[in-house]
Symmetry: C2
Subunit: 160 residues, 2 copies
Amino acid sequence: MVGDDGGPRWLDSTEMRAWRSYIVGSALLRQQLHSELSDRHNVALGDYELLVLVSECADHRMRMAELAAGIGGSKSRVSHQVARMEKSGLLRRTTCPGDGRGVFAELTDAGLAKLVEAAPTHVEGVRAHLVDLLDEQELATLAAVFGRMLDHLDRHGTAH
Amino acid sequence: MVGDDGGPRWLDSTEMRAWRSYIVGSALLRQQLHSELSDRHNVALGDYELLVLVSECADHRMRMAELAAGIGGSKSRVSHQVARMEKSGLLRRTTCPGDGRGVFAELTDAGLAKLVEAAPTHVEGVRAHLVDLLDEQELATLAAVFGRMLDHLDRHGTAH
């Protein structure tokens, strides 16, 4: 990954503009979605994302390792997060008899109720601040680009 | 923002695929770039991003409020981050005589040295995990889409 002179290949102005817009836009989007969820439903965006993933699994429970992969976080960070959410009653940690492969996070009734309550706010934000700003072609490009990135990072052997 | 039946307009499968790829891909990308910077240069991605912004300002210093806007973070979070980076010697907080408009973050010699040392690793990661995976058209779409999102969030009056 070096330039013709052996030095780093710095981004040109077009690449830099795309990169900066993406990084700053993504940070602001998360901040906005987080504010909407925490102001209206007293739930953090990261916690909401975790509730969604667990709710989509059979029996509303998911292995901790799969949970980490599903939100793109490290196992230790997700473990702390689940412990915190257990204290606030949204999830519980369980083990499965006869299954030695670790700990599950399981949705509680309160967690499911919070998810059902907050989901309309979240989808409204996702539409207003991203999806509805894009035409069909741009949405397809977004899916293609980030799908390719996910494949690349999986092959690359990331920290997760 | 309601569907024909008055309920939320949930994402369809195409929109959901784009959204999920974007959210999970972005989280994994930050985790990967963070690992590369912290493993090789002992600097967190968020701290590196802050050093870049300050280094681009006249006299290597920047108002705290502008810094928050530039990285898409809240003022309180950026304030904590700068305090931490001041302790580790990468930045110092200053006030400008005759300028009542608040506190600046200023790059130290150690901060500049860290930035110069880590920049080739960062640009290599940004290229390998995103920019070089995209063709010219995709890169232009990325810039357009996130530029539009930034304009929208600015108008919308976000939490920052």
